[in-house]
Amino acid sequence: MNNNWQLLIKYLPIFIPIIILELALMITALIHVLRHPHYRFGNKVLWIIIVVVFQIIGPIVYFAFGRGDDSRG
């Protein structure tokens, strides 16, 4: 366990930006999922799970394939 901590501390300058970027991507996608409840397929709950559980891939898949046309009419 001690070993892991050492690793983490040693590479903190690299872990921190990665975590920030992943969180930013996830939150952007999450907000979009919540605010635009029209999807090309799937439903809100499914997309929340995909976006939150699958880091990086989830948001990409959502923005590329899940995001629907937003217009009402």
Binding site: D69, D70, S71, R72, G73
Partner: protein, 309 residues
């Protein structure tokens, strides 16, 4: 009066389907032209050809005296187009979208022009993006972008069919208010819209323009005016029918319908004399003016008759 648009012997087919056989008409400057036909009659295709979005197989089209060419036609400088389902960029605000259009057309003093257009169609110049717009709002933005470059010819494809009655009313009033400033060509299958605002009508059927004239002339030519008599009972109605025999008479229940061409007064006096002679007293006598719908059916009927013969 000059013709702002002339369409000469235009033909178009998609694959083996001959959509337009021989379409030939012109629109005088300043008129509001109602383009009528069933769905799939070729109205949209004709309009897209006028805009250079579709290439005619044969025939020529001129707008403002200049020939229309396929692709980027110069005549589009003086035309405005409202597609049946206008598609915008959802991520822009209406003002941003109009700004994009204004830059492409090369309009001076964009800001004032855009503000004026938004005001005309009743959209607010705020931060709301087009993404959340209803059909009606999109249609209004559509007319704003179509009028942005102060076109001399405004082409609207089925502008009212997607709107609710209130929106339709509003839109027709807007179109009617343009009378005198812009020549309008609009297609529709709602005949009452045409009757309300247009002064000229073209009826497209079977790939040909079966009729194209002013509303007044169409009434004269195709309008079968009718006089409707109501009688006390069925037996009297039958007697009435026999009494009026030389005329075109139909009896149904207690109703007798006389179809006539020409002068109303002359026909009425003829009917009254015959009734007095036969000693029949009608409960009521009413003049029925032909509607555009009757004219439309008449025109289409003629076309079929000519086709069959």
């Amino acid at each position: 009066m000059d013709d702002i648009l002339t369409v000469q012997h235009v033909q178009k087919s998609f694959g083996s389907k001959h959509v337009l056989q021989d379409v030939d008409f012109s629109i005088p400057t300043g008129s509001i032209f109602g383009f009528v036909g069933e769905n799939g009659a070729g109205k949209t295709t004709t309009m897209r050809m006028i805009l250079g979005l579709e290439k005619p197989d044969k025939g020529t089209i001129t707008v403002g005296g200049e020939p229309v060419t396929f692709g980027a036609t110069k005549t589009n400088r003086i035309t405005g187009y409202l597609p049946d389902v206008p598609a915008f960029y959802d991520y822009m605000t209406p003002a941003e979208y109009l700004d994009l259009c204004a830059r492409i057309t090369g309009i001076d003093q964009r800001r004032q022009r855009i503000a004026k257009m938004l005001d005309l169609v009743g959209l607010k110049p705020d931060k709301h993006r087009i993404r959340g717009f209803s059909r009606g709002m999109k249609q209004r933005l559509g007319i704003a972008q179509a009028l942005l470059n102060e076109p001399r010819l405004l082409i609207c494809d089925e502008p009212t069919s997607a709107l609710d009655p209130a929106g339709r009313n509003e839109f027709l009033e807007l179109l009617a208010s343009l009378r005198g400033q812009v020549t309008v060509l609009f297609s529709t299958h709602i005949l009452s819209d045409v009757e309300r605002i247009s002064d000229r009508v073209g009826i497209l059927h079977d790939g040909r323009l079966q009729a194209c004239d002013t509303l007044v002339n169409l009434h004269k030519q195709f309008g079968r005016s009718q006089i409707v008599l109501t009688l006390a009972d069925g037996a009297t109605a039958q007697r009435c029918r026999q009494a009026l025999a030389p005329l075109a008479v139909q009896a149904q229940g207690t109703i007798v319908t006389v179809t006539y061409h020409g002068d109303y007064a002359a026909t009425v006096s003829q009917i009254l004399r015959a009734l007095v002679a036969a000693n029949i007293a009608p409960v009521s006598l009413q003049q029925e003016n032909p509607t555009l719908e009757q004219i439309f059916l008449e025109v289409i009927g003629d076309a079929h008759a000519a086709h069959d013969a």
